[in-house]
Amino acid sequence: MAAIRTKPDHHTYTFPGFGSEKFPNLLLRGAGDLNNWHLKVYEQQHEGYVAMKAALKMEPVAVTEEVKTSGLRGRGGAGFPCGLKWSFMPKDTADRKFTRYLVCNADEGEPGTFKDRVILEYNPHQLIEGMIIGGWAMQCVTGYVYVRGEFLWLIEKLEAAIQEARDAGYLGKNILGTGWDYDILVHRGAGAYICGEETALLNSLEGRRGEPRVKPPFPAAKGAFGQPTTINNVETLAAVPPIMRMGGAEYAKIGSPKNSGTRIFGVSGHVKRPGIYELPMGTPMNFLVEELCGGSSTGRKIKAIIPGGASCPMLDEKDFDVPMDFDNLRARGSMGGSGGLIVMDEDTCIVQATLRLIRFYAHESCGQCTPCREGCNWMEMILYRIEHGEGKMEDLDLLASLTPRIGMRTLCPLGDAACGPMDSALQKFRHEFEHHITHKTCYATGSRLLSKVGAH
């Protein structure tokens, strides 16, 4: 095995007030400490595996109820209640007809999103503990962690951490005398963004092309290898140990109504202190960007923010005060998504930025559904034309008419994801597109976002 990565990261995951009562750090405990991934550090300094031991003494159904009480919503993007998802698994745990699986989605591939890797890098045991608790609640036999292929050094670290847990008797046969057998396996992806979608992930896990499946049947009925399966994001599973430790009701008090707990926000783009911030749900966006991230790094005004990874509609200045939780962001026409904020200053050309985003979706479409495969490519071509000074005014109407024919017309949400940035850019920054078409130059005067030598 290769050496475990011990590089001290120069960027910080902490900020003034981090870990205080105002900013509880439930997920990033010990963030920045390079030895934090070891079992002994996790157990001695961060109440490690206390929650697991308590959960194993409870009835599996009671564990699910506790998660329901906490109001934890999935952190992968959709914000679906986690406890409810767990309760969809076949109820009769004594029924040996089914082999139940828990799958952790660590295929973090959305531009602007880099939160899961921090948990994998600094706090893998919290994820493992969460997976053991989830595995017990649903009486699973195996937990699979589907990690994106590029994270090779994290896979090695995660496997070393899993081995430590096995050696301590937290995984394997008859865990802590409960008579329950459970193990966690790591599965490495191979560079397809679509595998972050749950049914595509299952196909990839089974050794097939990562093409989404038709639902129903939902994974809880027929998932990995044809058996009942629950798929949760890394951050969701890592939130389970604090819930079991402090109690669901106590956890529900953190955050905003119907959006309980803390969330990891990854900030990138034009800010002075980009990086990872763990904050209670519902924290205002301008507080994070202006106060914690230090505002614009270029000294120019901030023009647009994508609040939750590349698939979320952009927000302009009038919405910068939005409280960051699933419901408030939806009310303002965007989404909570994966919690990755992409900040763009005044000199950013929105046409270039949109072209870059749509190019991503055109490249990553699995090709299964025609609206997504053809539509994303078509949008890319039109944007390319506009960017290169060959656009016509009709192109804007054409673009606007394309998105309703792609969104909600595909097997999986990749088509919808492409429509989010496209629609919002057209609605909020139409004048930049028009400027491109009439003047054949950028409205903004900033640096180029697109390379001249690129393969695209």
């Binding site: 290769a2 050496a3 475990i4 990565r5 011990t6 590089k7 120069h10 960027h11 591939g109 531009p111 602007g112 880099f114 994106r148 292929g149 590029e150 090779l152 050094w153 396996l185 599965h187 992806g189 191979a190 560079g191 397809a192 963004y193 990839s204 896990l205 089974e206 050794g207 097939r208 092309r209 290898f225 990854g266 900030v267 990138s268 783009g269 034009h270 980009p274 990086g275 992409i342 763009m344 930025a353 870059r356 985003l357 991503f360 490249h363 071509m381 390319y384 034309r385 290169h388 060959e390 640096s447 180029r448 976002l449 697109l450 390379s451 001249k452 030598v453 690129g454 393969a455 695209h456």
Partner: protein
Amino acid sequence: MNHPQPPETSNEPLAPGQRLPESERREFSPEAIAEIQAIMAKYPDKLAATLPALHIAQREFGFVSLSAMKAVAKAIGIPEGHVFGVATFYTMYQKAPVGRYHFSVCTNISCALRGAAQLLEKVCEKTGVKPGAGPSPDGMWSVEEVECLAGCGVAPCVQVNHDVYDELVDEQKLIEVMEACKRGEYRPWAQ
């Protein structure tokens, strides 16, 4: 109307009648076969070993050639067509030879906002190869433009083989990385 020109990448779909290049090796080593069998034993279905076996094939053969795909199919006992379908779906399997040091430059939005386009041009200039155009004549370098390396907070981000340089790579840093490559040095976690 000018459509974007088709890129000259090795990951493009094959033209009718066109075949993937062959690598020199045709069979897995006994150690690799043992490794694949150990992986197969972990899953309820042997098909699930396809992706891990292709990763091993890439490591053993240098790139996932047709012969590598056939070797994978034989090692797992599954149809060759299935392996071909899977290998061509995923972008991390290189279907053509790459240089000893393969640069993957992320040019997606977060990196783009922090100068990834200019960095990619610098990488191409210093290595003398275009993205996706195969290895340099001496076999040292190859360059690929990739979609997100999850280093958005420390953009721009570059990966050399398995070694992610997620530390605000600029021209100076790039020269240092290339010099280290020429000396054959890896960082400890990327061996």
